[in-house]
Amino acid sequence: MSDTLVEIKNLAKSYTRGDQDVPVLRDITLNIERGDFISLMGPSGSGKSTLLNLIAGIDKPTGGILRIDGEDISKLSEGELADWRASNIGFIFQFYNLMPVLTAYENVELPLLLTNLSRSERRERIEMTLNMVGLSDRMDHYPNELSGGQQQRVAIARAIVTDPTILVCDEPTGDLDKQSASDVLNMLKELNSTLGKTIIMVTHDAHAAEAARRIVVLEKGELLGEGV
């Protein structure tokens, strides 16, 4: 276990509702290896997204340890966390979350605007990435001119264009038809196997989870155990 990328120990998260503390995650302990492809499964409301958001650095734990690549990200400030996300995390959402006013090309360009790449370097990367997801001929299309599967592929391109360490996917196939879902899963597998991206995918669909190398199951905020 020398190459642990994500180290989670006794992690807890609770939300405050009024003056009540609502625990969502309790005592989660989990290690994820570099280059792994892991599925977080569990029923709706079990805390999958919450755990994923903690790992992605868009939410903060209320207890325990969360180290990524050796760095305790729960200690980072908002600003530092934003920079950390920009260079380490690629996020893929269930509903794609593309900017409707931007073309596919421009959507993929967004995260690159936070780097100091020149315009032509950006162009090169964007074209290469859109080519990888098979959308070279759709660069100037707006999201509403694309199918759900195509939109999700644009979102994947946006997530990987900065070459992040970890891809986090929250129900990436949840809004897709069977064919598109399997395309997206194949693409994720490919990214994992050929580019070595570490992928953490939340899903409640057992079929989708099978794409991963490893499956962990959450229930009511607790890790039940591992499948596969």
Binding site: I58, A82, Q94, F95, M99, V101, L102, L114
Partner: protein, 386 residues
């Protein structure tokens, strides 16, 4: 660059909403500009007054008169060049709503004091020769379609009776701001009638109009004139024509203040409208803003997007509004209501105020939604999806 692109694309996303908001802004900015111009026009008379002219009146009030022989004593005061006099006549032409100022003046020299009234010499001569003659301003003549030679019936109010005057001269204004809506007649003619009807009220005048050699000595000369009549039957109050005019404006100050207040109320209302638009817009885009933050964009960037969008809206509305203010103002100036003002021109300061209002509207409209969108936690923002 990208920032601007995103803002402009966002502005035109909800086309109907943007169009309605911009139309509201245009109307508000035009209304504001017009109201400000009304206030300006109100003061225009005073602003075009010369500081080389003094006005002497009865110290008690304008309602009280002074004996005409004061003229000789005023003329003897050091620094005084010409002394003339005038009196408010206050008659009605056909309808009370056809209001315009009428002054009975010393026909011999009154117009020597006012080089800004351009009168043809032969017409002026004709006026001086006709006891029932009148001199009218160009704007007034145009309003009623009068020509030289027309006989104008005026019903007296201060001095009852049906009077008739023949227009002998029509004068133009030298400057844009020169008033050309007055009606002048011979004081001698009026005085004769007064003397016949009320012998004790004859040879009394309301105002002495005085031209002095050196405007910088206006204060000293005014004092000297008033000193001359201290402890006499009718004590005087002398001030520059400008101060005198402002005194008139001050009488209507309540209206001016009301107009000013209304003009800012209009801006305040549109501020609320634009703020509401921005709040709706920002609420709809919560998930998008959260996504930008996930990608690493700062809360400040998100706030700047909203701020920029509000500014584009405000300036779009203000730009069109300012451009429209000019034709609308000149349309108003040519209407019968606008004819009441000597000059009705949109001033540079009005345009600057409009710009300032646009900035204020944009900033204030963006304040709350910008702050909220920047502050909202990413996870809460993302939950707005779907």
């Amino acid at each position: 660059m990208y920032y601007l692109k995103l803002i402009f694309k966002n502005v035109f996303r909800a086309k109907l909403r943007t169009a309605l908001t911009v139309i509201g802004l245009v109307v508000a900015i035009v209304a504001f500009g017009l109201l400000q111009t009304v206030v300006d026009a109100w003061f225009a008379g005073a602003n075009s007054a010369s500081s080389a002219r003094l006005v002497t009146r009865n110290a008690i009030s304008l309602v009280f008169l002074m004996p005409t022989y004061y003229r000789e004593r005023i003329r003897s005061i050091e620094g005084v060049k010409i002394v003339s006099y005038s009196q408010w006549f206050g008659g009605i032409y056909k309808e009370p709503s056809n209001f315009f100022p009428q002054f009975a003046v010393d026909h011999n020299n009154y117009f020597d004091l006012y080089p800004e009234y351009l009168i043809k010499p032969d017409e002026l001569l004709a006026f001086k020769r006709d006891r029932q003659g009148a001199v009218v301003g160009r704007k007034l003549a145009d309003q009623f379609g009068w020509k030289v030679g027309d006989v104008i019936p005026i019903r007296g109010t201060i001095l009852s009776g049906d009077w008739q005057f023949t227009i002998r001269a029509i004068f133009d204004g030298r400057d844009e701001t020169t008033l050309t809506r007055q009606f002048y007649l011979q004081w001698d003619y009026i005085n004769e009638s007064v003397k016949k009807r009320f012998p004790k009220r004859g040879d009394q005048i309301g105002v002495f109009n005085i031209l002095i050699n050196d405007p910088s000595r206006a204060a000293d000369i005014s004092k000297a004139i008033d000193a001359e009549f201290r402890n006499s039957l009718a004590e005087t109050l002398t001030e520059t024509e400008k101060a005198f005019q402002l005194g008139f404006v001050a009488q209507s100050e309540a209206i001016v203040v009301a107009i000013r207040v209304v003009s800012f109320v209009v801006i305040f209302i549109i501020m609320a409208v634009v703020a509401n638009t921005m709040a709706m817009t920002a609420r709809e885009r919560i998930a998008e803003y959260a996504t930008l933050k996930v990608l690493g964009f700062s809360p400040g960037y998100v706030a700047a997007l909203i701020f920029g969008e509000a500014m584009v809206l405000a300036f779009l509305g203000a730009g069109i509004g300012i451009l429209l203010t000019f034709p609308v103002a000149s349309g108003f100036a040519n209407s019968s209501a606008g004819a009441a003002f000597a000059s009705f021109a949109v001033s540079a300061s009005t345009v600057w105020l409009q710009v300032a209002c646009a900035v204020a509207v944009g900033v204030i409209a963006a304040l709350v939604p910008g702050w909220r969108s920047a502050r909202i936690k990413i996870v809460d923002g993302l939950r707005h999806v779907g």
